[in-house]
Amino acid sequence: MAVQPLVRVQQEDFDLQAEIDSLTQGRGRLDIGAVVTFSGLCRDEGGTLGALELEHYPDMAEAEISRIADLAIERFGLFGLTAIHRYGKIAPGENIVLVIAAAPHRQAAFDGANFVMDFLKTSAPFWKKEYAKDGKEGDWVSARDADDAARAKWAAKK
């Protein structure tokens, strides 16, 4: 049976260890040899940022992350994949995103997590707005060319 990714879009925080445990222990087999966990946090941007507000396109966000996750499972032969993305107001130091990739060997797990993040940055429908330390509403974060380039490298190397 094909590996089903676990995808969640939620306001509340997540627990890294609990998510790793449920991914590795829920399989019912002991064939996972590598787990790569990536978590993305909110930076304080040199002390100037008070919070990020993450807006998302409900339902499409889950659907798009699931599409990306399925591609990664297929391409890298992953045994498990978890992707969780938060929305709402997030303060510096707090978690924003979690990707866990499990595979028989490390290279597939590293590549799988990397691939999911590169695609998630450029195609999952989330947008960040900055709020200053004094609470003042700031600007929408601009998309970065470097993120498009990071995604494009996966087409070249297959």
Binding site: Y57, E64, I96, L120, K121, F126, W127, K129, W140, A143
Partner: protein, 85 residues
Amino acid sequence: MMTKLVYFAWVRERIGKAEEEISLPAEVITVGDLLNHLKTLGEEYETALQFPEAIRVAINMEHADHDEPIAGAREIGLFPPMTGG
């Protein structure tokens, strides 16, 4: 036929609403046509869609290029380039 349009981030802020249902003229065939049509609906649309090449579009919650036809779309989302992760 009515089509549901949903807007996000600065597209939503500039248009001044999160969603609406509109009736599209028959000559609106592609995503690009839709963007051009919306720009004629008022100053707020003109401001939001001033640089149509920067606008990303999803048809029924799947990304769509600007030359794709919108026939059969139940919901069309318009938004800026994504900045999640």
